[in-house]
């Protein structure tokens, strides 16, 4: 369900751009943050907002790494597996996360909280190994620190759930 207000807001955003397409990434990101992922419905909405066909939206959506075209958990954990983090032991972190969350890369944990995705360099190479949960970066990870972070995130999720 995409509220009309959001649609109108996005239409205004599109109108402000030089061309319809210019705002495509913004529109998709907004819809994604609203829905959690870019559902088919969101694609249809984006197409309508941008004046493109659904396929043309899909062309863009499937291109970008951070547009999710599959359902994700409440938090998406991006674990950097690029060279700097790799040399600092990101493989172990990823393995720990897989074991902790009980998922394979790309999967969502059973409680629907976390989706584990390996990702390209997060630009935090000085602090490797690195992961990003939502928009928050965590560096210098160790297994204990990851456990703490997950715990904190879980708590935050639980509180936001209860507040809703």
């Amino acid at each position: 369900m995409i509220p009309e207000s959001l649609k109108n807001e996005l239409k205004a955003r599109v109108a402000a751009a030089l061309t319809n397409r210019e705002a495509a990434v913004d529109v998709m990101k907004e819809l994604q943050s609203h829905c959690g992922w870019l559902s088919d419905e969101a694609v249809v909405a984006a197409a309508e907002i941008l004046g493109l066909s659904t396929l043309q939206v899909e062309e863009l959506a499937t291109f970008y790494e951070l547009i999710y075209r599959r359902p994700v958990g409440k938090r998406v954990i991006h674990v950097c597996d690029s060279i700097s983090c790799w040399s600092c032991g990101c493989d172990a972190i990823l393995a720990y996360l897989r074991q902790n969350l009980g998922v394979e890369p790309g999967g969502t944990s059973a409680d629907g909280c976390f989706t584990l995705v390996p990702c390209a360099c997060l630009g935090n190479c000085g602090e490797g190994p690195t992961m990003m949960i939502g928009d928050t970066l965590y560096g210098r990870l160790t297994e204990e620190r990851v456990a703490e972070i997950l715990e904190a995130e879980r708590k935050a999720l639980a509180s936001s759930n209860s507040s809703n």
Binding site: D40, S53, T54, L55, Q56, T62
Partner: protein
């Protein structure tokens, strides 16, 4: 004009020509997947690598991305270039499913050819192959993504060239996928070109799926009989069955492409209902008897009603040969009327078209693409000539303004090729004088041509999408032989006999006719009512000439012999085991031949060559050429 050397051949080509095109012009074929003459270059496949040995640029370059420059020395056979091409083939074959035996493209597959040419034989990649799921793309196009080599030809045609919006490229890196958002029929009216364009078997023609191989096809240069544009086609037949129609390149008319209607409508050639034997009063008979009886009855008609009581009817879908012979027959018999059109309006519209179109005003489809302002006046090109729509889109891509004039011009037609249009109430509202090459596309009509005449004085060129493949010729013959419309002829009341050749006779006009002879290839009401019915060949079964909307005479060649498709004879699909000399159902004859045979029985001389007199110059027309403008 830069001069360069390609493989020891010195040549001079216009600036801006790509090395690949320059090489092609001297007969050197550099392999290419993503480059297509109509779509231009993309630089995606990298298989057209050549080595520049000397000149302003050196080293390995993609010949489709490099415009020629003065002093270039190009080697297509250099070891490095060959190795590069071999590697590209190896890369492309990494994920290929190796299913050529069950692939319809096998035999006409660029990838197959180049793989063999590159000598790629051993597999050095040990990983697993990537696979894709297919999509249902409608009843005409079969999708098989595993074979894809990601050359981007399909999307570049579909979205850029033809303005389709429902087929595109998804994913990135090695997940590139060409398809639709969700399964469903392709919406573009030009989607049928995908099988032609695809260098491998990703898109194949569903109608001809698993029917034959390229080398088994009966093929000949032919034309599309669907509308008046006269697009060049190559029908492919096997075992007397028309399997598919492919586009043939004709730079003056359709370029490289064909619309879906022209491609997928088989016009009942294979139809089991198609009449294939002469009928005499509704019963099957032989040609001899049918013609003899017809000749006798014409004589009887003349005795009882006088020679003026017979009308000879040609039609806009009859070949020039047939129509011209019909005129000669009418002259020979002193027939009361010669008709090419049934309705009065039609005839009037056609004659208006012929009078408006001159060598100055008529333009070809290729010239449509050069227009900078196009007005669509009261026409729906989706019906009247889809390829015209594609040409309009190309003009629009080059910056032309497109106007929709009048209520009869629906916006949906331009939407189908993603055009931006402006709507104006009348033609006069368009400032034609502001443009250098304005163009008016209008449905012909007998009345109200004043607007168009004004536009012509303002410098506009004209395109009239006509009703049939040979309407232009019918109109010309109407003028030259002072023919009338059938409705007018019958209104006089003296006509008691009709000799109709491939004409669509409305039933209400046939009352009061005492002799009705019909030659046609469709089963029609007129056929049932006819006294003598003579089956004619379809266009793929004969040689002939059509004159298209701009007055371009084009020759088409016989593709296959008439006759029932072999698979139609036996429900078990077995072809006959017994040999016979004649094809069952192979009796239809070209209309002009029927006319000539009839005339011979009525005392005329034997006819060998149907085009004579004014049309004699068309005899040697090259069917593979661009045709000849007769205006």
């Amino acid at each position: 004009m830069p001069k360069l050397v390609i493989d020891t051949i010195e040549l001079e080509v216009p600036a801006g020509t790509l090395i690949l095109e320059a090489a092609r012009s001297v007969g050197i074929m550099i392999p290419h997947f993503c480059y297509h003459p109509a779509l231009g270059n993309a630089g995606a496949c990298r298989v057209c690598a050549v080595k520049l040995i000397d000149g302003p640029v050196k080293g390995i370059q993609m010949s489709c991305m490099t415009p020629v420059q003065e002093g270039m020395v190009v080697s297509t056979t250099d070891a490095d270039a060959v190795a590069m091409r071999r590697h590209v083939i190896e890369w492309l074959m990494i994920n290929h499913p190796h299913d050529c035996p069950v692939c319809d493209e096998g035999g006409e597959c660029l990838l197959q050819d180049y793989t063999i040419a590159a000598g790629h034989g051993t597999r050095r990649y040990q990983g697993k192959k990537r696979t894709h799921s297919n999509q249902y793309l409608g009843e005409h196009v079969q999708h098989e993504m595993n074979r894809c080599i990601q050359c981007y030809r399909c999307v570049r045609f579909y979205q850029d060239f033809a303005g389709g919006t429902d087929l595109g490229v998804m994913g990135r890196a090695s997940t590139i996928y060409y398809g639709r958002f969700c399964e469903g029929s392709l919406e573009s009216p030009f989607s049928g070109n995908l099988p032609d364009l695809c260098p491998t078997g990703v898109y194949t023609d569903k109608a001809a799926r698993f029917r034959a191989r390229y080398w088994d096809y009966d093929m000949a240069p032919s034309l599309c009989p669907h509308c008046s544009l006269g697009c060049a086609t190559i029908p492919a037949a096997r075992y007397r069955e028309l399997l598919k129609i492919m586009a043939r390149r004709n730079d003056a008319v359709n370029g490289w492409f064909l619309c879906d209607r022209g491609r997928f409508a088989d016009h009942g050639v294979n139809s089991p209902e198609r009449p294939r034997t002469p009928l005499l009063d509704g019963r099957e008979t032989t040609w001899d008897e049918a013609l003899a009886v017809l000749a006798t009855r014409i004589g009887e008609l003349f005795v009882s009603h006088g020679p003026g009581s017979l009308a000879v009817v040609g039609s806009p879908r009859l070949t020039l040969e047939g129509n011209y012979q019909a005129a000669l027959l009418a002259e020979f018999l002193q027939a009361g009327a010669l008709c090419y059109f049934v309705e009065r309006d039609e005839a009037a519209a056609a004659s208006a078209v012929v009078s408006l179109l001159t060598g100055d005003t008529a333009v070809s489809l290729a010239e449509v693409e050069q227009a900078d302002c196009i007005a669509l006046v009261e026409c729906d090109l989706r019906e009247q000539g889809p390829m015209l729509l594609l040409a309009v889109r190309q003009a629009w891509r080059k910056g032309a303004k497109i106007f929709l004039v009048g209520e009869g011009s629906p916006r949906e037609q331009t939407d189908s090729v993603s055009l931006e249009t402006l709507r104006v109430p009348t033609l006069a509202d368009i400032p034609l004088a502001d443009y250098s090459t304005p163009l008016v596309i209008a449905t012909p009509s007998g009345s109200g041509t004043a607007d168009i005449e004004t536009a012509v004085t303002a410098g506009a060129k004209l395109v009239f999408p006509l009703s049939g493949p040979n309407t232009f010729a019918a109109a010309l013959l109407t003028r030259e032989h002072r023919a009338t419309s059938l409705a007018e002829a019958l209104a006089s009341g003296t006509i008691k006999g009709l000799l109709a050749f491939e004409a669509d006779l409305p039933e209400e006009l046939l009352s009061g006719i005492s002799l009705l002879a019909v030659a046609d290839r469709f089963p029609s009401a007129a056929m049932i009512k006819s006294d003598v019915f003579l089956p004619t060949t379809a266009w793929v079964e004969m040689d002939g000439t059509f004159i298209n909307h701009e007055g371009r005479a084009q020759r088409f060649r016989k593709v296959m012999n008439p006759g029932l498709p072999i698979k139609g004879l036996d429900p078990a699909l077995h072809p006959p085991r017994v040999h016979r000399l004649d094809a069952p159902g192979g009796e239809p004859r070209p209309a002009w031949r029927i006319i000539a045979d009839l005339a011979e029985r009525l005392g005329a001389e034997q006819l060998v060559e149907p085009l004579s007199g004014r049309w004699e110059f068309l005899r040697d027309l090259d069917p593979e050429g661009e045709g000849e403008r007769i205006l």
